[in-house]
């Protein structure tokens, strides 16, 4: 297939991956959050199969194709990181600050948090919570796409990248599912354990270390470091 056609197909897949759960959430409404989770997982499996069918499951490196370079940079302390590593940190920080400000300060963000807590009461206050649920899916899709683009350019691109999401889920659970601020310490802990286990243990431990963190955390604080106790009922 010609390159423009492939790019169009990729864009189409991306839009499907974002819009379908959003629409599903809009239709399902508040009745079943678990249904939305299942929709996401199912869609993930289907899209992965579609990607393998169209692109094969070969590992690719998109940077040369895009004509970009990823030169190493020396940090003040002497550590060497790639340009895309720095870019990833900068984008993540910007996204986090933006999201935090949006949810804490903007009327729409406050409405979104309200709808997340009590959809029925939100509706009674004139909030179209189904629309807000769809918007939150779209935001999640946007953040996921951004993360995917940065990772693919920095490391590799292959259809099994979705597994990375599980690591992110471990981070969210360690930080506390309902705590936006808990994401940062959660991510730092999981990353530190991963790096240290590679340095002082076996490099193969890297892939399982987030789940080891999770296993260590669950018996002690099942609601996460900064989560709310009651949130457990909703998981």
């Amino acid at each position: 297939m010609a390159r423009p056609a492939l790019m169009l197909l990729a864009a189409l897949l991306g839009v499907t991956a974002t819009v379908t759960p959003a629409l599903a959430q809009y239709r399902i409404g508040m009745s079943a959050a678990i249904a939305a989770v299942l929709v996401t997982i199912t869609l993930g499996i289907l899209l992965r199969a579609a990607i393998v069918l169209v692109y094969t499951d070969r590992i690719r490196h998109p940077l040369p194709l895009l004509g970009l370079a990823n030169p190493p940079r020396r940090l003040p302390g002497g550590a060497v990181v790639s340009t895309f590593d720095l870019l990833t940190v900068a984008v993540a920080a910007t996204l986090f600050v933006g999201l935090f400000a949006f949810l804490r300060l903007s009327p729409l963000g406050i409405q979104m948090r309200a709808a997340g807590e009590k959809p029925l009461l939100a509706a009674q206050r004139g909030i179209n919570f189904q629309l807000l649920f769809a918007l939150s899916w779209a935001l999640a899709g946007f953040a996921g796409a951004l993360a995917g683009i940065l990772y693919a350019n920095n490391v590799r691109l292959d259809p099994s990248l979705g597994v990375l999401g599980l690591k992110a889920f471990a981070v969210a659970l360690v930080g506390g599912l309902d705590s936006l601020g808990g994401v940062i310490p959660g991510a730092l802990i999981v990353a530190a354990v991963e790096v240290l286990s590679v340095r002082y243990g076996d490099p193969l431990l890297a892939d399982v270390s987030p789940f080891l963190c999770l296993l260590a955390m669950l018996p002690v604080r099942p609601w996460g470091l900064f989560g709310t106790r009651e949130e457990l009922e909703r998981v």
């Binding site: 807590e117 029925l120 009461l121 509706a123 009674q124 206050r125 004139g126 179209n128």
Partner: protein
Amino acid sequence: MIPDLELENLEVVYHHVATAIQGVSLRVPPGAIVALLGTNGAGKTTTLRAISGFLGADDAQIVGGRVLFQGATVTGRPPHELARRGLVLVPERDKVFETLTVQENLRALVPGARVDHDAPRPPVTLEQVFHYFPALAGRRRQLAGYLSGGERQMLALATALLCRPRVLLVDELSLGLAPRVIESLMALVARLRDELGLAVLLVEQNAGAALAVASYGYVMEHGRIVYDGTVERLLAHEDVREFYLGMGRRAGRRSYTEVKQYQRRRRWF
């Protein structure tokens, strides 16, 4: 005069089989406080939910009748649309967002249009809200989950006011509150009616508190309206006095047979 809110023979069925309310008709004229009295399970809350469009969440359906809001049929419209039109509910439970601060609770809403097609609606400001509920002003930054029962009720009323209601539907304002708090909240509802020109449908088990501020009342039993009239008429009715206000000639200690007859009598109210 067109009533602000009118129910015509409303009938609601749960899970396709269980009839909860049947042939319920009532009118709330502009600027009036109307009380809807009834015991547990009489169908009061179901009636309110049917009006405010909550039924989808409970697997309940309106199978007959109409809800008219300022002359227009609004039966089964989604709750957010009804709230924006000015039909605002203060629910019985789950009335504030507990993970949000008081200030954020007061912002977590979409107010209706400033002006209706015919009647101008009172634009309520934050300052006005803190003027009506001074207790909330000092707790702006506190999480609503830490408020007391009375303060939650105030916050719920305050947020409802910011939605710019024409008709306020209040479900069990007195639930779990001390008599003095109930008295002051009821007085506040009457004041809001006077100053903002609201119509209020007050659903209560505490008949004494409701009839103290209402001008008209309906009594509901087993999903039907069994009696209605002006407050004077209700207060003069022997059964209302006996069953809802605990007054009347049979009040006081009763034998077992008297209680049995009492229950039978009430069923045929």
